[in-house]
Symmetry: C2
Subunit: 383 residues, 2 copies
């Protein structure tokens, strides 16, 4: 096992009818900004529950945080925070709303002129407004970590930061808020959770069997529970299990003492920035390619994955082929296309993405050995 | 899945050569009290590493915290804390030293005359001195939770509290500190970790498959790694894996949304208080009896345990019999006796323990259905 640090102070309140608890979690004197996305919280009752719980409190609103939250949108929120003296942020939504709100929290406390700095160098984040979340779209794990991914649509950039200052103080996870999720968002979130686990699991073996078991537990549970949600969107337990899987996929737990990959995410971010494909879709395209291309380096873990997650026993290459095929099949069963062509992304995306990552001097993968040539090869496998 | 809250702010620093990091984790101006047990830390180099890391700092010492830390011993430490103006506690040892130190931390801030109150009513703990730990004996999980078990030898009582105020600020987990552990302590710690997981796993099914997988992962890893340590006490990875298993066994994680049992612990505490048997030994005696006696209520999980942990497939009672036998065999393979007779505890212990628990109006188990008669029956199975 590798040496590691683990720290995660987010308080989780999980279960049905838990939204009213925000009343006791947000200081009574706080000037709260409620942040949200396209307005689904106004249709599914979450907004009403929040407003009711905060009755009599000072609450302002900032809606319209888009999927892949835009830097310029966030800056507008920062201006409003400053103008109105907001001192607590409450994000209601999925990973995009929460990520955007984390950036707003950090940028509001940043005194230099250009907060884009914070995405180029997270150590510049030395303070942030306190924030809490009401999660309505499981997938990214942002509700229980200090990370944030921000896009700058004007320059087609998509960057991230990680900071101890931007952990949510609390996150409310009420599975019932996900009953009315559009199928596409559910599918994207499930793929995101699944691939995030693979990024931290499918690397080289460092003799960390407990963490492997944890990762396999999440993968097995996602595979078992997702079809139940597809069959009955109001299946509470299945929704709850998927939600808890997604949180565990990226709260730092399964990563303890393990090498990590993240090549699929880095390549996927470029596809999203360039072609507007959903985050989950981009991962469903790229991950099978990384598994295929890196099958030599990842052999031992791929065989373990094949056996423990898909029940494919053996030491031969066909086990790995089948495990990759099963993975792709799982994504497709959720309705998520796994090929560039499914989204009409041209084959020329391969050299273009490779060039953009090279420009940023990015060497990807757990061995930092995936460079320009390898990125191009990986995407060429996904036409 | 049941509704749940999860909160755990302890920072974990895991791996070899991590003790020097306490330098940056303890405020420079702090008046530190280093607490420890019988003095093994002076023989295994841990004491020297700590003193070296805190060179130039204000450090006082309090040694001699015994296994099953005694209330009167802790009160002496509290008096020293107050006399010397100590404002940070650093516990170096296993669960007993850490538990004792948590109680000292809470009692030092308690203004009423009798701190025993805190063990009778944990809600009276409204503040505590900050504390950190250097773990040298994995097993109890105390390094990453707010719980503490304290004994009052003068009245043969053993009680516990749980509080958010007594989470360690940080815990250093360096597996190398466990290389020289006496075999008996290693065995006790491993049994303790194993049984703690069973207390949170072997209950009734609430459709929480992820938490089940996590628990099974810990059990499988303990079974796989313990023999490696027995074969080579300096096997770093095996030591590291056991250490991380034990922390995960009681940091709240696997308990999320699950019913919990804890009957074996409650009964075992009485055996320790009355007959001086080690904590791990008491659990090895009691747990197989609880499994046997409660096999009806726990049937579904016992069958799942048999299959996933011991590879025993089937729906019949013999699977459960074999799983209980395997559990007992595992404890015995570590050199831990599993019968009252192994420790010359008389059969009369059964009614005596049952009467003591009844006196405290304790109804045990996940259904609160294990009363006087059942406790007596369980112990009668263990002669």
């Amino acid at each position: 096992m590798l040496n590691f640090n683990f720290y995660n102070p987010t308080k989780i309140i999980f279960g049905k009818d838990t939204i009213p608890k925000i009343k006791n979690l947000i200081p009574e004197s706080a000037k709260v900004m409620l942040t949200y996305g396209g307005g689904s919280i106004k249709r599914n009752g979450v907004y009403d529950q929040i407003i009711h719980a905060l009755d009599g409190r000072h609450v302002v609103e900032f809606g319209g945080i888009e999927p892949n939250p835009d830097y310029d949108t966030c800056l507008k929120a920062v201006a409003q925070v400053k103008a109105e003296g907001v001192d607590f942020l409450l994000a209601a939504g999925g990973g995009s709303v929460i990520d955007g709100t984390k950036f707003i929290a950090a940028a509001a406390k940043y005194t230099e002129p250009d907060p884009w700095d914070l995405l180029l160098n997270a150590s510049l984040i030395r303070d942030a407004l306190p924030l809490g979340t009401v999660l309505t779209l499981p997938g990214t794990g942002s509700e229980m970590n200090g990370g944030s991914v921000i896009s700058r649509h004007s320059t087609t950039e998509k960057l991230f930061f990680l900071s101890d200052h931007t952990f949510p103080r609390f996150s409310i996870l009420d599975p019932e808020t996900t009953f009315t999720l559009p199928a596409r968002q559910f599918a994207n979130g499930t793929v995101d959770a699944f691939v995030q686990v693979l990024e931290q699991y499918l690397t080289y073996d460092v003799d960390a069997p407990l963490q492997d078991r944890f990762s396999e537990g999440i993968l097995l549970t996602l595979i078992q529970e997702a079809p139940k949600v597809e069959a009955d969107p109001r299946n509470y337990n299945a929704r709850a299990n998927i939600m808890w899987c997604a949180t565990n996929g990226l709260n730092g737990w399964i990563a303890c003492g393990q090498p990590q990959d993240w090549a699929s995410h880095m390549i996927g971010h470029e596809l999203t920035a360039l072609y507007g494909v959903d985050h989950g879709q981009s991962l469903a395209i790229v991950m099978p390619g990384v598994m295929q291309h890196q099958r030599g380096q990842k052999r031992k873990k791929l065989l373990q994955y094949a056996e423990r997650v898909w029940g494919l026993r053996g030491e031969d290459e066909s086990c790995i082929d089948q495990a990759i095929a099963k993975t792709e099949e799982f994504f497709r069963s959720l309705g998520v296309g796994t090929r560039l062509a499914d989204y009409r992304i041209p084959a020329e995306s391969a050299p273009l993405v490779a060039a953009r990552l090279t420009e940023r001097k990015m060497l990807l993968g757990e061995h930092q050995a995936i460079g320009r040539k390898e990125v191009e090869q990986i995407l060429s496998l996904r036409t």
